[in-house]
Every structure is written in structure tokens, then in C-alpha cells.
Amino acid sequence: MNHDEALRQKATEKYLLDELDPEVKDQFEEHLFDCQDCALDVRAAAMFVEQTKVVLSAPAVTSPVRVPAAAPARAGWLAWFRPAFAVPVLALLLAVVGYQNLVTYPHLMQAANSPQVVPWASVNVDTRGTATTVIKTRPGQGFSLLVNLPPEDGFASYAADLYNPAQKLEWSGAISTAAGEQGRQIYIPGRNRQAGTYTLVVHGITTAGESKEISRLPIDLQIQN
């Protein structure tokens, strides 16, 4: 196992969760003892787990209750329920709830249940080379990627990671395929989405559970007003 494979497989997390097969565990440990970056990663994660147990097992701290010797009479928090405060606040709440129920939610439900035409692009996983797929959307609009998997390449299943333009992992998911199907659609929501180059990394998963990166697909998202 090399460093990239360890990162991609989230080997640190799997190691601490005791999810690695014995053979993969041995391979990771052999790498771990030689790779100071991975060793640091595992040690930090182990420290986090140990300290989390301490924090979660500690009883909740309650502040001591001070009883005032001579407290003047106060209305307390119940004063907020006096009509002078309560009526306008409740009226405002009623207006907000009413607007949401009568206007906002029906509009959202209609949008969610209506057919939508969204931009899409087809990406071929077995493509060698780094040709960038361009997709043009409007602000807030999602898009679809039709992922064409290679036929009969010996993998039991596939997984995909989506990296945003800052190269931060945004989403990971499994791509299961029924026999004979090579295409799968991934819908990427458009809310709060930035333009830029995204990267879809597709991995093949063997029957032994080992992951192998088979394609790294750059997607240039252009958002047009």
C-alpha cells in the first residue's frame, strides 16, 4: 500500500475503526511504520478518540444554584408573556408561519415535484487522458453527470469522490451497477455552488474490497447569469 492509496481508502479511519481486512491491515501497518505523515495522522486520530472518550464520559457540569438572601420581587421570565409583549410577537410568528405554509412551501413543493431540465454531461471512466468536461449552468442550478463505466473490467462495484475547485472532498458515494448496465447518473445540486474545476475520481472496488483509482475526470463548471 502506498501513501496515496492509504489516503484514498481512508485507511487511518478504517484502521482505528478496526475495519481493515487482516491482509490490508498488515499492508497499512507496514506503510505506517515507514511513513511519518500517515503515522502522524493515525496518532492524531487515536488521540482524538481517546480524548473523546474522556470528554463524553465526564458528567455534565452544573452551576451551583445561588439562593439570594433578600431578593426583590420580580416578574421573572413570565413577564414576557404579558399581553404587551406576547401579542405582537405571536402576531409576527403567525404571519411568518402563514406565509411559509401558504406561499413558500407550496412553491418549493411544486418546484421539487415538477420535471426539470438540467444541464448534463457524459463522462467516460475508461478514457485515458485529461480532457476537461465543460458544463454551463445558471446560478443555483444543479447539473447531472452521466458516468459511463467500462464494460467487464473485473470490478465488483465502483465508488466516486467529488472534489471542489479548492480540492476539498465534497462528496463520496458508491456506484453500484446491475449486470449489463454501464451508465449511472450523478446529480450535483446547484445551491451555493461555485464555478471552477471540479474533479470526479472514480475507483473500482474488487471482490476482496480493495479500491483502485481508475479515472480522474476534471469538470469545468461555468455559471452564467
Partner: protein, 197 residues
């Protein structure tokens, strides 16, 4: 953070008996050995025995010039630990470990190698990370790590899959790691909380 390089110079210093190098070596690999062994051995005494025996043999190999690839020092330690572990499993006698050599005692280094102030900072950071999590995620971590329930059962109860648990741990670790690295960098190599056994 500047990491110590396991190279020819390091091995030479180790061989020469340089105290700080030896202290760093034992501390660095003790933590990894303990992490490795705790999923395989349940007794703290057994873990400690295997750890000590591993270092005994590694230092013996060092003295007899058997470490030929300094940059693979880590792999050598791991391999030696595997051998000792196998012997432990077979419940073989400790007589095979060089009885005629003087048994050197390698201070037991706790996995918790933090000073008081650093430990307090780490605890506060972790509390902050946990407080920012949804209550469900906190409960998930509690049931997996503190109550040590079966992970598949916990995931089923919470309606999540194992990948969710991994990503949760990954994100929390990443948030914690920057403080962890800062604390490690602030401590000179080999300065650890060590207790003589």
C-alpha cells in the same frame, strides 16, 4: 512540522547510544506498536511484554549491524514486532530472546504523551469539536468509542452506513489535527511523559 528523518545519520546516532535519539526512537515507535497491538492483544501486560521484546531485538540487531537499510527502519521495527507477536501467540518461551545480553529496560511511554497544559488544550478543542456536532453524531461517537457497541448495530440504530461513521471520524480528526500538530511541534523530540517500569 519538522519530522525526524530515519536515515543513516539517525541509525548511526542510535547505534552510538545517543540518548536523545534513543529516547525519540523508543517514544515514536512505542506509540505505533501500542496502536498495532491493542487490536490484537487484550492484556496491557502482554502489550507491554511484546513492546519491550521488540525493542530488545531491534537494539540487538542494531548492535550487530543487521539494519542495512536505514530508510526502512520503520518497516524493520514493524517486522520485528510481527515476529515477537507470532511467538507470543504460540506461547513460546521468552528464552529465545538473547538471555546472555543485558536486558535493557525501555521506559513505558504512555500513548498520552502530553504535558498538563497541552492535554487541557486538547481536551478543550475536542469539547469544542463535539459541541459543534449535531447531537446525533455525538451520540454515534459515544456508542462506538465509549460504549464500544457493535458498529454495524450502532449504524443500523442511527440509520447511517459505515462510510458515514468514517467520514465523521475523518472530519473530526482533521479539525483536531492542526492543534495536535502544533502541540507536537512545540515539544522537542523525545521529550515525553515517560515512566520507568
Amino acid at each position: 512540522m519538522q519530522l525526524q528523518s530515519f536515515d543513516e545519520s539517525y541509525v548511526e546516532r542510535l547505534h552510538a547510544g545517543d540518548f536523545r535519539t534513543q529516547e525519540h526512537f523508543v517514544a515514536y515507535f512505542s506509540e505505533l506498536i501500542q496502536l498495532k497491538l491493542r487490536s490484537r492483544l487484550h492484556s496491557p501486560q502482554a502489550i507491554e511484554d511484546v513492546r519491550q521484546e521488540t525493542f530488545t531485538r531491534v537494539f540487538a540487531a542494531l548492535r550487530s549491524g543487521k539494519i542495512r537499510q536505514p530508510d526502512r527502519l520503520g518497516a524493520f521495527v514493524n517486522s520485528m514486532c510481527n515476529n515477537v507477536l507470532l511467538e507470543h501467540y504460540r506461547a513460546s518461551s521468552r528464552d529465545s530472546s538473547l538471555e546472555d545480553e543485558e536486558q535493557q529496560d525501555f521506559p513505558a511511554v504512555s500513548v498520552d504523551v502530553l504535558g498538563t497544559i497541552a492535554a487541557k488544550q486538547m481536551g478543550e478543542k475536542i469539547r469544542e469539536i463535539l459541541d459543534e456536532m449535531p447531537e446525533r453524531d455525538r451520540r454515534l461517537l459515544r456508542e462506538v468509542f465509549l460504549e464500544e457497541r457493535d458498529k454495524d448495530a450502532v449504524c443500523r440504530d442511527f440509520g447511517v452506513d459505515r462510510d458515514y461513521l468514517r467520514v465523521l471520524l475523518h472530519r473530526a480528526k482533521q479539525q483536531f489535527k492542526s492543534l495536535y500538530l502544533k502541540n507536537m511541534a512545540a515539544r522537542p523530540p523525545g521529550v515525553l511523559t515517560a515512566e520507568k517500569t
